[in-house]
């Protein structure tokens, strides 16, 4: 049912939009405001640890395990890329920032592998669709690295080597 925000059932006060009596006092508002502010000030002084402000970069936020952070490519046991260069990730990518050149693999159980694999991190929108699309769990976005900085655009285009050595502990390769 609709109800009026000026009516008595409103959580925000009701009473219509005309001011009456003590409501006409500016001075009252000043004290009311000071009271709320002082209460917050004192609470914060005595409970410093509960303050919502984070002392970044000394403290890092906890984004949980699902954070979509900088990509990494997984390795097989022998250290070669798990990726089979099937192009699914680059096809599904909405910002078209993955490019892969495939090459034949000599091993009998592996058909193809990437010769080059680059991601343009400046184009990437961190949507995670590449991870969803990969049919062999070769690409992941679980490194936890979200501070991505470089001093030229070229450095944001990361290659196969870089991606294979991007580790989950946040250490740069």
């Amino acid at each position: 049912m609709p109800y009026s925000i000026h009516g008595p059932q409103a959580a925000t006060g009701g009473k219509g939009s005309r001011m009456r009596g003590a409501e006409l006092w500016y001075l009252k508002e000043i004290f009311r405001g000071m009271y709320v502010t002082a209460r917050h000030f004192l609470t914060n002084v005595f409970h410093m640890a509960d303050m919502p402000t984070l002392q970044y970069p000394d403290e890092k936020p906890n984004y949980g395990p699902w954070l979509r952070s900088r990509h990494r490519l997984m390795k097989r046991e022998d250290g070669t890329p798990r990726c089979v260069a099937c192009q699914m990730c680059s096809t599904v990518c909405p910002s078209d920032c993955i490019s892969i050149v495939a090459m034949e693999d000599d091993r009998p159980d592996v058909e193809k592998r990437p010769e080059t694999f680059t991601i343009d991190l400046l184009r990437c929108v961190y949507c995670g669709m590449c991870v969803e699309a990969c049919p062999c769990d070769a690409i992941r976005m679980d490194t936890g690295i979200f501070e991505i900085a470089a001093d030229s655009r070229e450095k944001f285009v990361v290659d196969l080597d870089f991606l294979l050595n991007n580790t989950t502990d946040g250490v740069k390769p």
Binding site: I5, G13, M19, W66, M88, C127, P135
Partner: protein, 583 residues
């Protein structure tokens, strides 16, 4: 209820209706361009049709047809819960008679169609480009406009005509401003002749802290009073709709995050609901409930941002920390749930990106407590506050009738006293199962707009709590392999799963040929996605109905005659989000 409008209009116009259609329950009629004004007027004024609200005007380009353009008017009746689409077809160079005499917001919607398709509207008072730069050549949404083609445009558009800016001191009194804001009487003298013009043109924006996004308003001031103003939008225009035509249905989801970036979750839900409607796909109960939860989270965050910044704009800075702290607690939950803060991309066609994580419920309940606390702190500062009321009561008043005529929806419409909420009028995703009320204002002023939003935060909190209490178990993905990726272990281990996955990635989801309009109550009003599919893996056309577009169209009228600080107070309360306005 259904078909009543169709029957009515057929009874009245008979042979003039070229085609009717009610695919997916969306009624639509096609008429010749010349008949359009009378059909639209009939639909608006006939008591049984009562289509008082013009939602949107959409262009669609079919280059292979002799009459290559479809122009679609999307109408809605508020009381009767009906919708209708009125279509007309025109060839290149043919004009459509304007509807701007019937609805105020038709003016901007038609300008958009003109801008992006090059369709002319005869009788339109101000047919200029609106989203693209005024020097832009060609029409971006025509199918033959290459998507990669960029253009460099440099010059600033003068919004106010020269004679409006310079009615000199001598000449000013020999004429007057008429109701449309035009100058009647002797023209002003040239700048060189008259240095002390009485009127001062001022640019507010495009980059101004109080516009909260890139908007430009050129205002003509008489002292501090705005005599006349013109708005320019499009600074954040990236042609979402063109991009959508170049991507698969699935790939569009991340793009929807960037429409109303303050409540990305709500947009995600709106988009997938529209596509699921076209697929006629049912999703599991659990998904429906989770979608309600995340949409309401989006709404709360949006209202916290809007009220917080609106109050800052009028000088009440402190409460901003309280609302933004509260929002931050919700964002912590969003980060953990979606893996990203603003660009959530949480929904999938036929389901969700992920099920809720372990501990989500506790986190969210905790965050809701903090939100309540934050809103209480804010209310302690501003509730019945003389200073706030002086600044907002009676400022930017819009009557219910005018608000409807401008195409208002959402909190701004409800502040004017119209109890229209899509969640009640046409419930989706299970909203009919939750118990909530619609707060409405009475005066349609800036104060009511703030208070309606705050009341809605309480309602949303209650909806989320009910949804959490009754959250069903089960899967979150629909069991439909045309649409949903198979589970990972199937992909890794079975050839069938692999093929299925492969097809979905490379071909995309195939949406049956046809058109549909999906809509939800977003934080700002009715967010609609009108989509046309040709049966391939990519949409033929996706049109967003951004709720703040018609609202912003009314802005220059709302502020006419008010002072600059009032204009700022009004702007904040309308909650114009440029990402959605400009698309």
């Amino acid at each position: 209820m259904s078909r009543r409008a169709l029957d009515r209009v057929q009874e009245r116009f008979g042979g003039q209706i070229l085609e009717t259609n009610d695919y997916l329950g969306d009624e639509s009629i096609t008429v010749a361009a010349g008949d359009l004004p009378q059909v639209l007027e009939f639909l608006r004024d006939d008591p049984q049709c009562d289509f008082k609200l013009l939602l949107d005007v959409v262009g669609v380009d079919y280059p292979d047809r002799p009459q290559r353009f479809d122009v679609v008017y999307n109408l809605r009746s508020l009381d009767q819960g009906q919708r209708i689409r009125v279509k007309t077809r025109v060839a290149e160079g043919e004009a459509v008679p304007t509807a701007s005499g019937l609805w105020h917001n038709a003016n901007w919607h038609e300008r958009e169609v003109y801008d992006l398709f090059g369709v002319e509207f005869s009788g339109h008072p101000d047919l200029r480009r609106i989203l693209c730069h005024h020097e832009f050549e060609g029409h971006a949404l025509r199918k033959d406009y290459p998507i990669e083609k960029g253009q460099m445009c440099y010059t600033v558009e003068k919004l106010l005509p020269e004679e409006a800016v310079l009615p000199g001191r001598e000449t000013r009194h020999e004429g007057h401003w008429n109701a449309e804001g035009g100058w009647e009487g002797a023209p002003g003298v040239a700048l060189a002749d008259e240095i002390h013009s009485d009127y001062l043109p001022v640019n507010i924006g495009p980059s101004h802290p109080a516009t909260h996004g890139a908007l430009r308003i050129e205002a003509l001031l008489d002292g501090e009073t705005i005599v006349r103003s013109e708005a320019e939008i499009g600074y954040l225009h990236r042609c979402f709709e063109k991009e959508a035509e170049d991507h698969t249905w699935h790939q569009i989801i991340p793009y929807t995050d960037r429409l109303n970036y303050v409540s990305a979750l709500t947009n995600n839900v709106g988009y997938v609901l529209a596509v699921e409607k076209m697929l006629q796909l049912e999703v599991p109960e659990r998904t429906r409930a989770i979608r309600v939860i995340v949409s309401e989270m989006g709404r709360i965050m949006d209202h916290l941002v809007c009220t917080g910044t609106n109050l800052v704009d009028i000088g009440a800075l402190t409460n901003y920390w309280y609302t933004w702290n509260a929002r931050e607690y919700l964002y912590d939950v969003v980060e953990r749930l979606c893996g990203e803060r603003l660009t959530t991309s949480y929904t999938r066609i036929g389901g969700l990106y992920r099920d809720l994580y372990e501990g989500f419920e506790d986190d969210l309940r905790g965050a809701l407590k903090k939100v309540e606390q934050g809103v209480q702190d804010m209310m302690a500062l501003v509730q019945r506050n003389r200073i706030l009321m002086d600044r907002t009561v009676g400022v930017g008043v819009i009557s219910a009738e005018e608000a409807v005529r401008w195409g208002y929806t959402g909190p701004c419409l409800r502040a004017s006293g119209v109890a229209y909420d899509v969640r009640k009028a046409m419930p989706y995703s299970g909203y009919e199962n939750y118990d909530f009320d619609i707060p409405v204002g009475e005066n349609g002023d800036a104060y009511d707009r703030i208070m309606v939003r705050i009341e809605e935060i309480y309602q949303s909190i209650s909806i989320i709590r009910q949804a959490l209490d009754t959250l069903p178990g089960g899967p979150v993905q629909a069991d439909d392999r045309r649409v949903v990726f198979p589970p990972k272990d199937e992909v890794y281990n079975s050839i069938e799963g692999m093929m299925n996955h492969f097809k979905l990635v490379f071909e995309g989801i195939r949406v049956p040929k046809g058109e549909g309009y999906g809509f939800i109550e977003a934080a700002n009003g009715e967010l609609g996605f009108y989509a046309v599919s040709d049966g391939s893996g990519r949409p033929y056309r996706v049109k967003v109905r951004p709720p703040c577009f018609p609202i912003f169209a009314s802005f220059t009228t709302l502020i006419q005659g008010s002072m600059v600080p009032d204009a700022i107070a009004i702007l904040g309360g309308l909650n114009i989000v440029a990402g959605e306005l400009d698309r």
